[in-house]
Subunit: 437 residues, 4 copies
Amino acid sequence: MTSQSFFTRTTPVEFAGADSRDPLAFRFYDKDRKVMGKRMEDHLRFSVAYWHSFTWPGGDPFGGETFNRPWMHGGEALDLAKQKAEVAFETFRLLDVPFFAFHDVDVAPEGASLEESNDNLKVITDIFAGKMESAKVRLLWGTANLFSNRRYMAGAATNPDPDVFAYAVGQVKAAIDATHRLGGANYVCWGGREGYETLLNTDMKREYDQLGRFMSMLVDYKHKIGFAGPILIEPKPKEPTKHQYDYDVATVYAFLQKYDLTKDVKLNIEQNHAILAGHSFDHEVKLAFANGIFGSLDINRGDDLLGWDTDQFAMDVKEMALVFHEMLKHGGFTTGGLNFDAKIRRQSIDPDDLLIAHVASMDACARGLLAAEAMLKDEALAGPLAARYAGWDGAEAKAMLAGKMTFEQIAEKALSLNPQPKSGKQEMLEGIVNRYV
Amino acid sequence: MTSQSFFTRTTPVEFAGADSRDPLAFRFYDKDRKVMGKRMEDHLRFSVAYWHSFTWPGGDPFGGETFNRPWMHGGEALDLAKQKAEVAFETFRLLDVPFFAFHDVDVAPEGASLEESNDNLKVITDIFAGKMESAKVRLLWGTANLFSNRRYMAGAATNPDPDVFAYAVGQVKAAIDATHRLGGANYVCWGGREGYETLLNTDMKREYDQLGRFMSMLVDYKHKIGFAGPILIEPKPKEPTKHQYDYDVATVYAFLQKYDLTKDVKLNIEQNHAILAGHSFDHEVKLAFANGIFGSLDINRGDDLLGWDTDQFAMDVKEMALVFHEMLKHGGFTTGGLNFDAKIRRQSIDPDDLLIAHVASMDACARGLLAAEAMLKDEALAGPLAARYAGWDGAEAKAMLAGKMTFEQIAEKALSLNPQPKSGKQEMLEGIVNRYV
Amino acid sequence: MTSQSFFTRTTPVEFAGADSRDPLAFRFYDKDRKVMGKRMEDHLRFSVAYWHSFTWPGGDPFGGETFNRPWMHGGEALDLAKQKAEVAFETFRLLDVPFFAFHDVDVAPEGASLEESNDNLKVITDIFAGKMESAKVRLLWGTANLFSNRRYMAGAATNPDPDVFAYAVGQVKAAIDATHRLGGANYVCWGGREGYETLLNTDMKREYDQLGRFMSMLVDYKHKIGFAGPILIEPKPKEPTKHQYDYDVATVYAFLQKYDLTKDVKLNIEQNHAILAGHSFDHEVKLAFANGIFGSLDINRGDDLLGWDTDQFAMDVKEMALVFHEMLKHGGFTTGGLNFDAKIRRQSIDPDDLLIAHVASMDACARGLLAAEAMLKDEALAGPLAARYAGWDGAEAKAMLAGKMTFEQIAEKALSLNPQPKSGKQEMLEGIVNRYV
Amino acid sequence: MTSQSFFTRTTPVEFAGADSRDPLAFRFYDKDRKVMGKRMEDHLRFSVAYWHSFTWPGGDPFGGETFNRPWMHGGEALDLAKQKAEVAFETFRLLDVPFFAFHDVDVAPEGASLEESNDNLKVITDIFAGKMESAKVRLLWGTANLFSNRRYMAGAATNPDPDVFAYAVGQVKAAIDATHRLGGANYVCWGGREGYETLLNTDMKREYDQLGRFMSMLVDYKHKIGFAGPILIEPKPKEPTKHQYDYDVATVYAFLQKYDLTKDVKLNIEQNHAILAGHSFDHEVKLAFANGIFGSLDINRGDDLLGWDTDQFAMDVKEMALVFHEMLKHGGFTTGGLNFDAKIRRQSIDPDDLLIAHVASMDACARGLLAAEAMLKDEALAGPLAARYAGWDGAEAKAMLAGKMTFEQIAEKALSLNPQPKSGKQEMLEGIVNRYV
């Protein structure tokens, strides 16, 4: 197999306008179009995820491989990893995306020892570095997989066995070194096994302390090697573990404050993880901004009726418009981007399905971005919002909030008040949003 | 109606031993029995909740009153409130509980103005004070209802209207004053409307800041008047509001840290709120202890298959045994207690159902406490737990955790490690717990 | 109060085109526009629901009235009911809808006896009949409220007390008589209390038999009086009751078959009830059509993150496009319609909010209908669907399905087969749908 | 490896009494103890499941193998299958269970063709037959795995490709032949892929018809070969598929009626599948009995806070007591049994964990059975239940239910009624149940 022959197409997907019916053309994603003064590509900063798109064979808990990718069978591990890299970079080129992201074990085979694994990773890092010289694509982030190998079955940083903790340090060091070497814009930690299956065998306080220590050391190391990007934690409430310590944005914020990490660690927020935690995507993004810990987005969607991570390609324009509206209000991404932590369905076994899925979702994102821009320009939401809270602009209201009145003074003042409720205008606002999407 | 005639029984419910078949006798709750050196009554610190038991008429979103309590009809508001108080104190006496708890509006009618409401509350406070002189029962906590009146429909402290904020201050001042006067052991805040129905009309950051200010002032005021107990926040994720800011223990912990409130504010944790937030009761309690913010418990149960607050009487011995096991490890309650934030089903319309429900649940709690004591004595769970983490007792492991080794040093050390996973023994531990309950 | 003064506007809402920014103008709902040969109005058959819009005061389980409607206070019950009717019919006129729907107790006050209640209903029925002579609006359906009064707390047809069963018969007879008198197109049964709170006190088999009997008698009676429309059952899985017997479409279909009711009883399907049961709206509609029991729709939306019936106004164009696509394939409604079983949020206290909400949702429905029409014309979904199953058009495949081959014959034939999976093309189809909405 | 060396123990687990602390001794399961006149073993009819216990390597969606069973590595497929069989039968012996259950692919490797797969199955069937001659263990049921192989990714009987349908027939024929040869008491169908991932590519009506045809042919074949046991369908709402056609008991009952299968097909009900569908285990069992379609039980438990199938070992005595109470009322199992469709946690990697888990759960079941017996003897639940419905024993009530009164006659009678609600006594009943568990 050559990478060229995996897909039928050889030229990058292009913008063809809203009337196009070609599933391999963009209808809205017009990378050079300016949105609030910046190119669409620079706003959306799309990233293809190595794991779902090139490493996952299509299995689920009740069934095996469906994709039968040529690079997953019948060869020496490193050779197969190189073949996979060929297809991956060809995909990046065809989708014309500016970024990709990977776990160590997605790109390089695990060896019989940590040293061998590290060596494999270095081999692949060199290959990637070479390819990236001539390609457009850059690295949005790297990360280490601390959850698939059985050694991590009871956690990595939070493992009851200190040797596993140490092993995880060794693996993460190699992963952030590789990320640094490749100019990664961020380094991500997803603690899929940092949690518990049962409280009967778990010392939660101790495990949190282990995790705090681990993250503190990683931050120190990042500074030491001059890695400029932030460390990102990706919240997820559960799955694979019954309960994960990085449950949601609020929980991670509590953790970052406790272990004094708010300055160096930001959040990588995912739609599917948000809804598994009982929150809307918009909520999680707004909460992260409110607390100064917004970092990046894993763009995908979960199924509202299912209780596990389906990681489907994001297709809901309205949902994304609201998230991008918040982001644009804050000036958009700095180091972050829209990483497609999304997998084609296991029945989507045609090679082109991989491209079609990305194209359809990139287009939905672009529509969301355009809708957000229009809402912002019109102050469609911001106007009514400011009006709703206008009372707090008064001098006495400001004084209350600034701590310049005591509880008793306010209570005294309240004796003469009889405040009347005002309409929240929810349906009107919903109708307004519908105008834009 | 006299209070005596509401129930058929006139003498307090008594301990009758495990073989009793009388639904109005305790089978396990033997108040003077010593558990780890303390009387059962002093461990469990049961409290009857005024709202569910005396103020709720039995309605639900699709149906009206079912209980037809005599004190809810056909009289002048304050007179009815006094009648209700008669029945309430008679209930406390018959159940032989050491505590009760109330919202301002449960006990005293709202007036046409804040001043009138405050006056009504004072009248009832005097009556309660008089009754409490001769009664055994004390006040576990008081609170203000900042969610039922339409003025609070968009929040109290987090309202877009500063006058509502001020009004809430006025109401809370009166409520904590009343609580203080009655010797309340705690003061509770449940922010049922502190949240949002839609993010389209909500400035979350601003509302969090309002809530932070409100709580800070309340803490200041508490100190000023010499109220010795803690302020307790009761987390709940949703209902009535779509999203509530005091979502769960972790979220409140983030809030307390951000607004520097961890010293004075603790948590009042409820089983039903825990499961609505996606957590086990045990999880929430352990997390609160791990972060030094455990305060008190609202004891009830939710329905695992329903998505709203059913506030049923707690009957699951195993669930409570695990919670009490954690509590006993930390020495049990200080100011907190087991408040029955539980309501009889709306079909339980016989007056005696109110007593029967409390008795059955008190008994289930007592069984849970005895099971917890036995597990602790046997080190049934603590033993295996210590063994599981024993590796961290080693010198090098301690050094890692204490920050005495750098990331690179640990990574270097890891090159020679090949840690093997050990069984988590979950089923064995589950079998052990089954021995005790 | 006069009905005219309740709303600020006096002329019906009109179509103003997609660019309109007026929340009281239609942007897509153009009632005379032809869609697949039929007027939009005749396709969508919008109906305003009396209960949410005129009878619900804005309360929720934690708070009281917010709307303070003039017709809910300070008058004699029948007079208030007449005032309410004035506003209701004015609303129908302003929204220019062809239908409305009601429960008996929404429109007429309950009396002290069944006879008095029936008399009240007759008074109001006469008033309605008078108003309908001159108004455009017709009755989509009537129904009886068998869940709010405490007598029904343990069910109506499924009550353990046969007198309650009889009383329910009496009430339903009056309600279907009124519906018939007013030319109602359907009669609806929603069994909100036909279910159980706990299996500990429930004989499920017996209760199902009671329900079967009740429905059979109702069907007989309908025929006897010449009521031409179908009886509709509205499935809902839970709330108010823990478990309701009419759980979802499949469950009701099982019931209808068992009690031989499939011919006369159809389904009234609601989005919010669908998702509470774990199904998409589209699924429930498709399943009803597949089994020949589709009747009508309650159009609203639930919150995917909440576990109770929020009954919000439907705003999701894509969701409705898929439902209408199915409906159009089957020729659209016969007796059914789109009944707004939707309530404005309790914070939407401005009178105009009631109009704005309907307008925004009617527009979203109209967009959905237009999208469905376009997809059908293009065979955007139907084309790929037919291709996917084309293999079943073969002679042998048809023979298998028609029962013309035995199990052994097919098994024998299978020995020479090695079928290869084909892509399900899910992302491509999702991208296609996004083109239309 | 020899089977003897896999476990440390060589003698069957024995009953040691309630005070035993040995995790490899029964505290309650005393197989010869008589319960309502029948031996415990004959009541509970425990079955070990081949797939979870011997075929699953410990993986989950985010991690690979943890168990490293010797029979899963490094040998020729049939040899490994034989090794596995050794350990399996040794497990049956050590647990002293009367039954086991299997899928075709659990026990025999899939070949390169259907013929080869069938041959492999025959080889293993012969081996099993040989072992079963001398062993105590019998076959509770066999089944075919129609979900793991990629050919079934879009369903088996409901596949869009008729060749897959045919292939499934071929596979099921071999599986029921093997089951018949081994004297299986039932044959099970679990339609894990009979459903859809998206309605966009699904013709639900057609797929239901395919499934109906498939089941009808299977029933015909069963009669033809003289297989005496029932065909059992195992309902599950979702996972792996987004929606499965055999959603829950009610849905399957609708299906069985439509395709005229109620006589020959019964249900195999699982706790974890019940709660995933939003029902209690008890509900599903009661509903199956109410409709005459109860067959067998998959005994396990799900996690109430997780949205996927955790298949944990059942440990909740109360839940099982209520299920067994219903079962005992109906005389207990006929062909069915308690099949442990349960898997040890992936961290439970000690070989003995497999035994410990079964022992702990068998004991919990035994306690549940004893509690059910005691409740039945005391009429603890049956007494109050009969009293609650006693009104229906009256002559007129019976006449109403028997269809001997018309709707109008009952409505007329209702005019003189004013039924008063009676307490549902839920808390009292919950307290009563707590006495027994």
